[in-house]
Amino acid sequence: MPNRLGWLRIPLYGVLVFLYLPISVLIFMSFNKSDAPFTWTGFSTKWYSVLISSPNIMEGFKNTLIVAIVTTIISLVLGTLLAIGLARYQKSSSLEAVALTPAIFPDLALAIGLLALFTSLHLTLGLHSVIISHALFCMAFVTAIVRGRLAQIDSSLEEAAQDLGDTAVGTFFRITLPSIKPALIAGGLLAFTLSLDEFVIAFFTNGPSSPTLPIVIYSMVRFGVSPEINALATVVLLISALIVTIAQRNVKVQDQL
């Protein structure tokens, strides 16, 4: 009913502008010809070429991809197993709360805690320590999503498979995994995006030799915003938006099942 909104359209559009204006300015300015980041002088894609030819940025991008991909795999496997364990054997709801709280820990507290732990274990810092740290909180998100899906599916499906002659392992791969597939896709993509632009924890737990992309950006803007940052931020934004869209679509499919 398009005409029902009436004068309520005014605050609606106001909020939308508030939400999207900063992002729009960023995208707009990333196509600016000028060397000054926020003075428009004409259209150009030259800052995107600068990005590609910058070894620092490309190195950061590569590191971030490695961290995000490995984090996704680890948190998917562990998070799914944890969710299934919780669904099947859980006797107390506090256990479930313990498993899910890392998702809402303050980043800073988690970062300092992890750094303290790694230092006391004499672990050298690098991409591996970032991966461990990211997997820790991403796993909680995956667990929450998969646990939600498991609560929706009929618990007698697995019993039915066994009744029809399937083994426990066969049942897991043929029945359990396919029924939670939408949650696995959504959870994996969420873990990937969370890791992709995570700054605080990576900043604390990373070594000096292999910065991730958010750290590279941070060190660049410390000396003032340069125009290629606009282009870089636009690229990161597009990747995140794309992934979130795919994830949401899968959650919707899950609801329809």
Binding site: E159, A161, Q162, D163, L164, G170, R174, L257
Partner: protein
């Protein structure tokens, strides 16, 4: 006929609840057997134990003289049709039905033949490429049935198979279940809380209460010769008059009612059972009361008469003889039609 499935002295306890208490039942080959009882009576626990999905604390179950309980669920020659149907949502009808056969590692032409045959039997050949979410309740039920019988089990267990269907589809499916049981030559054990369903569908019924078997009998025996007050109350519509036995009568709420011949001692507590169809309206009667209401059931009506007892007396009556509400009714019956039960 010798027993095929022999359940001997099985018990199961969940914490404080005795779900099954020393249950023994003998079920014959090719029988359509019903486990009937109110919710929480242990019937579903027993069914799941037969399928291997629940362990038992004690007791022995043999199928064709071989121990069944030591066989894991996925190796038992027994299949269960779940109350929720438990159809695999990510597989189409064909793959749902073929699932169990593929686990037996049969060759694909045989699987195809058997799935095709069973889908034809349940009338779902046209729907074989559909997902369960695209099917109606009755169709889902048929898929669940097809998926279980295509394995050619020695026993098919059905957990409240018709409870999710509306009344009209339910009676169609009752007929269809009977037909399938007959055609497939498989022993069916159905769990239900619906006594009408059990009475109309089963060859024999075990009525359970609080984890124990109260009576095992054919539907007719169960109705005409209930062993206890619980059976009399649970099966069919009944009038139960609890009172104290005198000589040749029973005293209920100050009225003396005639009784059939009995072994029960005079002075003991007893319950007189009278079925509504055994009571008739007449000019003079054993008891007299006022008609409170009448419920119309197609061919006949059920009258509710207030005769000064704790409950209204139910009387079945032909349509053209229903008196007007508020009028005085004289009720009479032959004492031989009534049943006298000890009141525990």
């Amino acid at each position: 006929m010798t027993s095929f499935l022999n359940i001997a002295g099985v018990s199961k306890r969940y914490g404080d609840v005795q779900a099954l208490n020393n249950v023994s039942i003998e079920i014959r080959e090719n029988e359509f057997f019903a486990l009937l009882g109110p919710s929480g009576c242990g019937k579903t626990t027993l069914l799941r134990a037969l399928a291997g999905l629940e362990s038992l604390d004690s007791g022995v179950v043999t199928l064709a003289n071989e121990d069944l309980l030591s066989v894991p669920a996925n190796k038992r020659p027994v299949n269960l049709m779940f109350q929720s149907y438990a159809l695999f949502p990510h597989l189409n009808v064909y793959d749902n039905v073929a699932y169990g056969l593929r686990r037996e590692k049969l060759d694909s032409t045989e699987i195809d033949q058997r799935v095709h045959d069973v889908l034809k039997t349940v009338g779902l050949l046209d729907q074989k490429d559909r997902r369960p979410s695209q099917l109606s309740g009755g169709q889902k039920q048929r898929v669940a049935l097809a998926r279980a019988i295509v394995k050619r089990p020695k026993i098919l267990l059905l957990d409240e198979p018709l409870s999710a269907l509306d009344k009209k589809v339910r009676s169609e499916m009752q007929l269809e279940l009977k037909r399938l049981q007959h055609e497939a030559g498989i022993t069916f054990i159905i769990v239900t809380h619906d006594q009408e369903e059990a009475m109309s569908i089963a060859n024999r019924i075990a009525l359970m209460d609080k984890g124990e078997v109260v009576q095992v009998a054919t539907p007719v025996e169960m109705y005409s010769a209930p062993k206890t007050k619980f059976v009399a109350d649970f099966i069919g519509t009944s009038n139960l008059f609890a009172g104290t036995l005198g000589s040749g009568n029973i005293s209920v709420a100050g009225k003396n009612l005639p009784i059939p011949s009995t072994q029960l001692a005079s002075g003991s507590r007893a319950v007189l059972l009278l079925r509504p169809e055994d009571i008739s309206l007449s000019a003079t009667g054993e008891i007299t009361g006022t008609l409170v209401s009448s419920n119309f059931y197609g061919g006949s009506s059920l009258l509710f008469v207030d005769c000064g007892f704790e409950q209204l007396v139910k009387v079945s009556c032909a349509l053209n003889q229903v008196p007007s509400v508020g009028s005085t009714c004289h009720l009479s019956w032959s004492a031989a039609d009534s049943i006298l039960l000890a009141d525990a």
